[in-house]
């Protein structure tokens, strides 16, 4: 299990140095490890386990926007676990439940048992609907249609710089979407 953490750390280091493919792989593996843990946590606090994917996405966005807070000299596991736990508590609190998640559950975020869990079927399109039109179009083109920055720029008749900024702001807005109604 430590090997996997070491592998994530390596991928994340490569990602921070600009390797996009390593970054994507790193996030996918983290998402897969988080899923069963988040589901169990939600059930424990009496929240709806159908929200699992929503919370996993919150954690991934936070990992991305806060990636500069990982101290590369420290193991990456506790860092991810800290972010995951914070977002879980946040999700539970939004539902007006007092919660006391035992920290041991998040001390080791690696799933204990076998097969990887598939994401729930529920599609989370509503999160995009909250974005202003410009950001929504850019995020949709890149995330759902799989366009590159350059292709999105051409399709939307924007400069590449404007696409980059809109994407970044859109992701920031997705991170904040829960904060205002809490």
């Amino acid at each position: 299990m430590k090997d996997r953490e070491a592998q994530w750390a390596e991928l994340m280091r490569a990602a921070l140095a600009g390797d996009g493919a390593a970054y994507e792989r790193c996030l996918r593996e983290i998402a897969q490890a988080l899923r069963p843990l988040v589901r169990r946590g939600l059930m424990r606090v009496g929240a709806n386990p159908a929200e699992t994917e929503d919370v996993v996405q919150d954690i991934l966005i936070a990992v991305h926007l806060k990636r500069q807070t990982w101290d590369e000299t420290r193991p990456i596991g506790p860092w991810i676990a800290g972010i995951a736990r914070y977002k879980m508590v946040d999700a539970a609190r939004r539902r007006g439940r007092r919660t006391n998640l035992p920290i041991e559950d998040f001390a080791d975020i690696l799933p204990a048992e076998g097969a990887p869990e598939a994401p729930s079927e529920r599609e989370l399109t509503r999160s995009l609907d909250l974005l202003p039109e410009g950001q929504r179009k850019v995020v949709r083109a890149i995330a759902i249609e799989g366009a590159s920055i350059a292709a999105a720029a051409q399709a939307l008749n924007m400069s590449e710089g404007a696409v980059r900024v809109a994407l970044h702001r859109g992701l920031g807005a997705l991170a904040k979407r829960h904060r205002d109604d809490a």
Partner: protein, 212 residues
């Protein structure tokens, strides 16, 4: 949006991630401290014969105790700014300070006649001291909270309290250069009160401002 789609968007976002939390905190803290220092020099005069005072133990109790508190609080804030980093020895180091002050207080109470205790407690103007120390802590606290927003404090209230403790002890360290009262009775009561107020303001603000 499916998680795979989100991950694609996250990987495509190459905007810079912002400064490391310790860099942001150091720069913001330095700016806040500079502001508070100007405010301090404008607000009150330096105490006369400061050099002489530095020869006496009741005076030196103040900078030494505040210095330890600053180190402990700074360590705590830096650790609280990152998720998954344990607090470590910061609290134990901070606990040394009340121990020193209580020891000094006991010595003082044994040396000073009981009739003088209240006089020592009131000092020249204790309420001005408390007010000014809290006032001087505010620019530093605001700057530290700003710096902490570049981090990801998993415990926002605690991180805010740590920032308040650091701001309060830095403000008290500044104020030592003015404060005419050296009795440990005075220090134990009013320095403590001022720093606790700053810590409380930090905790309340952290809870509101440091969510991410």
């Amino acid at each position: 949006m499916k998680t795979d789609d989100l991950i694609r968007a996250l990987a495509a976002d190459r905007e810079p991630a912002g400064p490391k939390p310790h860099v942001a905190l150091a720069l913001a803290g330095a700016a806040g401290l500079a502001l508070s220092t100007f405010l301090f020099l404008w607000l009150v005069p330096l105490r006369p014969h400061l050099g002489e005072a530095m020869q006496s133990w009741p005076f030196m109790l103040k900078p030494v105790a505040m210095g330890i508190l600053v180190m402990a609080a700074a360590g705590a804030v830096l650790r609280l700014a990152r998720p998954g980093v344990p607090l470590g020895g910061a609290l134990r180091l901070a606990a040394v300070v009340p121990a020193i002050i209580v020891a000094a207080l006991v010595v003082e109470l044994m040396q000073v006649p009981r009739a003088q205790w209240l006089v020592k407690l009131a000092g020249v103007h204790w309420y001005v001291c408390v007010f000014n120390m809290v006032l001087l802590s505010l620019p530093i606290l605001a700057a530290l909270l700003f710096g902490l927003r570049f981090g990801a404090p998993a415990r926002p209230t605690l991180a805010g309290a740590g920032a308040g403790l650091l701001a309060g002890s830095l403000a008290a360290s500044l104020y030592v250069a003015h404060c005419p009262d050296d009795s440990p009775i005075f220090v134990a009561a009013w320095f403590t009160l001022a720093i606790l107020i700053a810590t409380g303001i930090g905790a309340v603000s952290g809870r509101r401002l440091l969510r991410w």
